[in-house]
């Protein structure tokens, strides 16, 4: 009876693992923070299930489980609970930790139960090492490209800010021309807001959506994360630009590495599956 219940639990966990991977991929298709936070709640539920799974396995398999490579995989896939407990405040860390969850797919090695523990452990460690290398490369490349893109965006915005100021100061009546300034600054592609403080302390604000301040703030909260926005200051001018499109490019690299990791796993699984059958 206990064995049947344990098999049913194994099956449920296998389904949850597939769901977890689908949810991880789903993240890349959502734009608004509200939707992503909803996905986060599902992810939290899955993490709790995984922790529960570790407890069940410990109570059923005891020391045998602690010695197996499955235990290492299970613990790694639960690490993202750290982000759920809000230990790291930056959203990016949560995503990196969640990436580790993919190692759980290695547990499908249970399908070839006829395999010797040596083959299963070799499969688990080859898979774990491969997945970690692919995921790390993906994350590193994504981070590298993101930094380069942001630097180039900052450079571009600065240049246009300088031009805008030059244009505004070059008006015929030798006074600062707001008209020239706004016309020029509008060439910043992802501009959301510009704020200029005059010499007399007067602050002039302009947002490209032509919304009232409260509505504009709501729009920002609804559509952007903190790291999707970039403040650039030059002299007495503050601009707010969106770098969500740049983050999306970086995220896309992560997505490719995730897909590549899945593909790697399927090939590895096929190799070990046939190896097992030949040994039988």
């Amino acid at each position: 009876m206990k064995k049947i219940l344990f098999s049913i639990w194994n099956f449920i966990i296998s389904i949850v693992v597939i769901l977890a991977v689908i949810l991880m991929l789903r993240y890349y298709f959502e734009v608004t923070p509200a939707k992503i936070q909803m996905l986060e709640k599902y992810q939290l539920f899955i993490t709790i299930l995984f922790i529960f799974d570790v407890i069940i396995r410990l109570s059923v398999l005891k020391i045998e489980y602690l010695k197996s490579s499955d235990f290492v995989i299970d613990i790694i896939s639960c690490i993202d609970i750290i982000s759920a407990l809000k230990i790291f405040r930056i959203f990016r860390f949560a995503r990196i930790l969640r990436f580790l969850r993919i190692v759980r797919i290695l547990k499908f090695s249970r399908i070839f139960e006829q395999a010797t523990p040596k083959i299963r452990n070799t499969f688990n460690f080859t898979g774990l090492a491969g997945l970690i290398v692919i995921i790390s490369l993906g994350l590193y490349t994504s981070k590298f490209i993101r930094e380069r893109l942001i630097k180039s965006e900052i450079n571009y915005t600065y240049t246009l800010l300088k031009i805008s100021l030059n244009n505004a100061n070059a008006s015929t009546d030798s006074e600062f021309s707001y008209e020239n300034f706004i016309m020029s600054i509008n060439n910043i592609k992802n501009l959301l807001k510009v704020e200029k403080t005059d010499d007399d302390g007067r602050i002039i604000q302009y947002n490209t959506l032509n919304l009232a301040t409260a509505d504009f703030d709501k729009y920002l909260n609804d559509n952007f994360f903190q790291d999707d926005l970039l403040n650039i200051e030059y002299q007495n001018i503050k601009t707010l630009i969106s770098i969500k499109n740049l983050n999306h490019i970086a995220n896309r690299i992560e997505f490719y590495s995730l897909m590549f990791a899945i593909f790697y796993y399927v090939i590895l699984f096929a190799i070990f599956y046939f190896l097992c059958n030949d040994e039988k």
Binding site: F29, I90, E147, M259, F263, F274
Partner: protein, 83 residues
């Protein structure tokens, strides 16, 4: 007889794995296309320069930002995030 059955089973298994690999490949390309749509959505969150009430750029000499200035600006951005 048994050898033949084993061989057929193995061929079937290879075909199943190939189908799974093709399915993953196919879903990858279709998801990649969907990501293009997401990219368009992301771009629409900011009003493009063409639609803003602005006139054509006033051509002036372009002052290039130095590498140090770009570095400083990037560090400021990192500080914003960690705040």
């Amino acid at each position: 007889m048994g050898y033949k059955r084993n061989k057929t089973k193995k061929v079937m298994e290879i075909i199943i794995f190939l189908i799974i690999a093709c399915a993953i490949g196919f879903s990858f390309f279709s998801m990649d296309e969907s990501l293009d749509v997401v990219e368009e959505k992301v771009n629409k969150l900011t009003v493009s320069t063409d639609n803003r009430p602005s006139v054509a750029a006033l051509k002036k000499s372009i002052e290039k930002m130095s590498a140090d200035e770009a570095e400083d600006a990037y560090l400021k951005y990192q500080q914003q995030l960690s705040r």
